[in-house]
């Protein structure tokens, strides 16, 4: 029989955090624990309780599973100073919650005498896992769902950084909307995103020419919104033979961003590490994997990967 119970522990700054521990039947318990890392502001249950469903599957496989709230979120103590969600996401993408994750590993380690971990999470939880794994050999694997490779910020003009995939998708969507009276109403009442529409039109009417490197830079603005911490953390894991599974959703911009801003840039180097990482995309799925069939595919792929590398 598995057992579920609430846990309270302190992070490195003495801030009290709360979580739920899923303890598998002792007869099948594995010597590796899985931490489910909270995505964005959706606390330890994740959107539509996705982490409860993941925990149920993982504990059946024999893994002790711990999901908990980061400081300032969920039931945890502490405060988050950012007023805008995009800024909070940006701070998570550069490692805001790495310390909390290490504190959770410490708690599990002391409680169960376990020194081997797998980190898993959706979106902000996935990037937190990747950044925590960098330089920490106790983390033997990462299961990242919809991992972001960019940095979010409320001040950033997102239309400047649209990938080809996003442009194509938005172009198709706008074409369809031309027949919708509601769309024209939004357009004529200044509710549409004109910057995005202009960039899509410009791309079609005036295909971009290869510009000299210097001309691409605009003073005072970044010329790329890629997270500079992503690639070093990724290669730190695979260089040391640790395992990564990334699962993306087909309708999610994060899938296109991963291809455009990571895979294309590191194609050669990635080929050398193919045995250590796997990337799959669930067709049509959205970012939060809202449909039960998408969740099932994600759970089955995760189970296969775990059985292959950690059984």
């Amino acid at each position: 029989m598995s057992n579920t119970y609430p846990v309270t522990f302190d992070n490195q700054d003495g801030v009290r955090l709360h979580g739920i521990m899923h303890e598998p039947d002792a007869a099948i318990r594995k010597p590796v624990a899985i931490l489910l890392l909270s995505p964005g502001v959706k606390m330890r249950v994740a959107p539509h309780r996705l982490y409860n469903k993941m925990a149920a599957r993982l504990v059946e496989l024999g893994y002790p599973v711990f999901r908990f709230d980061f400081y300032g979120l969920g039931d945890a103590e502490g405060d988050v100073e950012e007023a805008m969600l995009a800024d909070l996401y940006g701070s998570i993408q550069i490692g805001r919650y790495v310390g909390d994750t290490r504190a959770a590993m410490q708690w599990v380690s002391e409680k169960y005498d376990i020194e081997r971990f797998l980190l898993a999470g959706l979106c902000g939880g996935a990037i937190t896992g990747l950044l925590t794994a960098k330089g920490d050999a106790r983390v033997e694997g990462l299961l990242g769902l919809g991992i972001p490779v960019i940095l979010d910020s409320a001040k950033m003009d997102k239309s400047r950084f649209l990938t080809d995939g996003e442009m194509n998708s938005l172009h198709q969507r706008y074409i369809r909307k031309l027949f919708s009276p509601k769309y024209w109403l939004r357009l004529l009442t200044f509710q549409s995103d004109y910057k995005v529409i202009w960039r899509i039109l410009k791309r079609k009417l005036m295909p971009p020419k290869e510009a000299p490197a210097d001309a691409k830079k605009v003073q005072g603005e970044p010329d790329d919104n890629t997270n500079p911490l992503f690639a070093p953390a990724f290669f730190d894991m695979v260089d040391s033979g640790r395992k990564i599974l990334f699962i993306f959703s087909g309708s999610d911009r994060l899938d296109w961003e991963y291809e455009d801003k990571f895979v294309r840039r590191y194609a050669e180097r990635l080929k050398q590490h193919e045995p250590h990482f796997k990337v799959t995309t669930i067709p049509e799925a959205n970012h939060i994997l809202s449909m039960s069939e998408w969740q099932q595919v994600m759970l089955d792929q995760s189970t296969d990967w775990l059985n292959r590398h950690f059984s």
Partner: protein, 270 residues
Amino acid sequence: MNETPVFFAGKQDRLFGVLHRPEQEGNGQAFVFCHPFAEEKLWAHRVFVNFARELARHGYAVLRFDYRGYGDSDGEFTDYTLTQHGEDIERAVSFLHEQVDGIRKTGLLGLRLGASLAWLSAERCGINGPLILWDPVLDGDEYVQEFLRSNLTTQLAVYGEVRENREQLIEKLQRNELVNVDGYELGREVYQGLAAMQLAGHDAKSDGPALVVQIGRTGKQKRQPAGFAEGIGAELRCVVEEPFWREIKRFYYRADNLFSATLDWLEAQP
């Protein structure tokens, strides 16, 4: 802070809650918080947490908890009805009384559908303290239609078209098939319970004092909440806040206008 996360109400169908004890000497009053529906619960969570802490600083004991099928409580969302959520509120009130000595008055505080459930459950729970209803859902049918619209938005985003319109979704529900809305599998009983829920025009008075808070981007009073508040003998306050129970650009961890309007009203009660 004195906060305890706990499972309660038996070994099966357990409920999960966090008990906030008064920070200093208690004032003999306690609240059970009733959370909103589906994903609204998660978006609003931090506001609930921080208001519970605010009340604990003012001497109140507070129990925040998850209905069955929500948060960390047992069960699946699709398996429970609104009536059962009402039973959960009753179990939470009993648990609070078991845990905290010297409670003289117990109130309920709810947000959105949680406010509606609080109002509908108050009598059965023997509530003798304040009833605080933050932006209650008054017209359940209108609310569930709006909820279903989110399914249509997902279809548009994923397939580029609406493959099942609202009427077809309702037909599915009536055939006892599930309809997925943002990951929540809505079933027939919950749909029918929501569609039949009409609080507007209710004229039953509350035993204790009651507060209805209308929340909006402007402070302009709306007809429906005003009529409801008058009908149940509650005071109506209109506060300016963004709809923090939905995804908005701001990160809403406090709702200061809402908090001060509620605390001011509480302090004015005999």
